[in-house]
């Protein structure tokens, strides 16, 4: 048995050595071949990092919008044009804006300022979904203010369409006139009615349009038309609208269209931009990136 093994072992040894020697030779020859190339690369390499181009901001967009908001507020009001840009590719339909808005403005049941429309596109297996948050469009030619018999709803110089709660008759003509269904009526109901009683937090004041108001009895805003107002009361205090700050997808942008270097102005210079029902000539101040 032993004599049988020997020649075998000898052969194995030989092959091992041969392979080692061959591999070594190969590596050495490769190294020799690459060396000048590595040297050449080393010679041209910079060690310092170039500074970023100044116009590209590294800030969070919310911080940037906040700064631009403060800047805009320094201008006279008629030189501002507030607009909102909503990136539909970023929206995840979490409804955080709807909820945030309802909490901010103390919205009663049946009143909603910013629902998120969820549509399904295509048929299986080729489907996708599209989400369209729908605040008030703050139209430049608002059909709703045109029809109000007493001018209780009107366009402010900064583009915001607002409602004077203490003037509004509650005739609901403007509700019919809005092509986007953006207006709701306050029917005077409470979320916690009959549970067994209205909870005190529903009787806390809200500050829409900068006025402190408690919803009680037949007092305004009960019996009035209500809608999104771009959180005027927050803007006045240098804060972004609630929906902008609660948007987890960073899909909602807000700012002054009249600032050419501002974020929103740069966003809408895009082939993705569209406005809803453009053919009606209402000229919405809410833009969508599709």
């Amino acid at each position: 048995m032993g004599s049988n093994k020997e020649p075998n072992q000898g052969r194995k040894e030989f092959i091992k050595k041969g392979l080692l020697a061959g591999g070594g030779l190969l590596v050495a020859s490769e190294l020799i071949k690459w060396k000048p190339m590595i040297e050449a690369v080393k010679a041209t390499q910079h060690t310092e990092v170039l500074p970023l181009v100044e116009t590209v901001s590294t800030e969070d967009v919310v911080i940037r919008m906040q700064k631009e908001l403060h800047e805009a507020l320094k201008k006279p009001v008629e030189e501002i044009h507030w607009i909102m840009v909503i990136d539909q590719k970023k929206c995840v339909a979490c409804d955080a804006c709807t909820v945030g808005c309802s909490a901010e403005n103390g919205l009663p049941p049946g009143v909603v300022y910013r629902p998120v429309i969820k549509e399904e596109i295509g048929t299986y297996p080729n489907v996708s979904r599209r989400f369209t948050p729908r605040p008030c469009m703050h139209c430049e030619n608002p059909p709703c203010t045109q029809v109000c018999p007493i001018g209780a709803t009107y366009k402010r110089p900064d583009g915001i369409v607002s409602i004077d709660y203490d003037k509004c008759l509650g005739c609901r003509y403007c509700l019919s006139a809005c092509p986007y269904g953006a207006r709701s009526f306050d029917w005077g109901e409470y979320h916690t009615e009959n549970t067994p009683e209205v909870m005190p937090y529903e009787l806390e004041p809200t500050f829409e349009y900068g006025d402190e108001k408690v919803r009680k009895g037949n007092k305004s805003p009960i019996g009035n038309a209500r809608k999104c107002h771009f959180c005027i009361h927050r803007l006045q205090n240098g804060m972004l609208p609630t929906c902008v700050t609660t948007c987890i997808g960073r899909a909602t942008y807000f700012g002054d269209l009249n600032n050419p270097n501002g974020l929103v102005a740069s966003l809408i210079g895009s082939p993705r931009v569209k406005r809803l029902k453009e053919k009606l000539g209402t000229k919405p101040s809410v833009y969508y990136l599709t």
């Binding site: 029809v147 003509y173 009526f185």
Partner: protein, 423 residues
Amino acid sequence: MKRLYFFIIGAFSLVGLWAIYYRLTEGLKMTALTSNVSWGLWVVFYIFFIGLSAGSFLLSTMVYVFNMKQYEKIGKVALLSAFFSLVAGLMFIFIDLGHPERFWHALVYRQPTSILSWEIHFYLIYMLIIVAELWFLLREDISRLVIKAKGFKKFVFKLVSIGYSIPDNSEKLERDRKQTHKWMKILGIIGIPTAIGVHAGTGSLFGVIVAKHMWNSGLTPILFLVSALVSGAALMLLLYALLVPKEKQDNTMLKSLGGLLILFIAVDLLIVAAKYLVGLYNYVPDERQVLLNMMFGERWYIFWVGQIMLGAIIPILLLSIKKGSSTLKALAGLSTILGIFCVRWNLVVPAYLESPMPGLETAFVHDRLLFEYTPNLFEWITSLGLISIVILLFSLALNSLPIMETKEGKEDNGETADGVQAI
């Protein structure tokens, strides 16, 4: 009989008063309206009564402006029902407001771009014209009543006559009557464009709304106006056949009123056909879908049974029966009026039932955001109550004033009869 009638209608009126009170204290949450169907039954009644008023008024001008003597006998009742219908319409719009206590805002703050703002002023001018016409027409009779009546009634009549007392010699009386005649004509001439403005304007309220494709058409105001004439003529037919005792009824009068009604219905049908067929023709869903839902949807009967059967076919059939009794004519009138109510419903409600943006109906779901509407019991009770109040007032006026001049007046005072002829 009369007592029973007043008792019943009085009871209903009390219900109406309670409903108004309840509505004013509880707010609009008592209704089944939603933010997306923001106008409902009360607005339907509002445009119905404004139409009835404008229609009646325009018929009265046939007598006082165009001197069509054959309609003379309905002149006064036409004016009176124009007045009370207007009151009814304004009551409905009043209780439909979210803040009725602010109604005066509409007169203090103006908005020239708003049709509603213009309309409110039209209604007021129109009201003044009707009141002035009624006063001129009735002052002589009323001042006679002042002399005859006693106690509280005397006081009321005096109030209504606004200080006019019948002159003591026939010369002056003649002069006053001439004056009345002249003023009726002037007021009537001003009244015609006003009444057209009142109802075609009410139609424009809807016509200008670009958001509702079914309303947004130049035909809408015309449709409002013509259906106003239909309902006015129908009401006159009904009242004449009902209030004038059978033996005193003038058959040619009934006939010509019937003919007029058929004419108006025909024009109305023509306009409806034009508007709806054009709306249905193209596959653009905006208007087509609304019309399809209205005609073949869940509430198809409002169109086919109400608008077409009750509003057109039945009255035309009833009126074309030769030698038809006055009861049949009254029925024709009633059927038309019900039909016109359905027309009004279809002018308002169906346009709301389509979502303006696909997906909005499911984006945020709540009872008050539905695109559906069925008036609830409270809305119906309130409406019936309000209508009862107006019918009660109308009946009281008919009962105490010589409106249908074939009644008492003629016998006990020769001058009244002359007066009627002079006018």
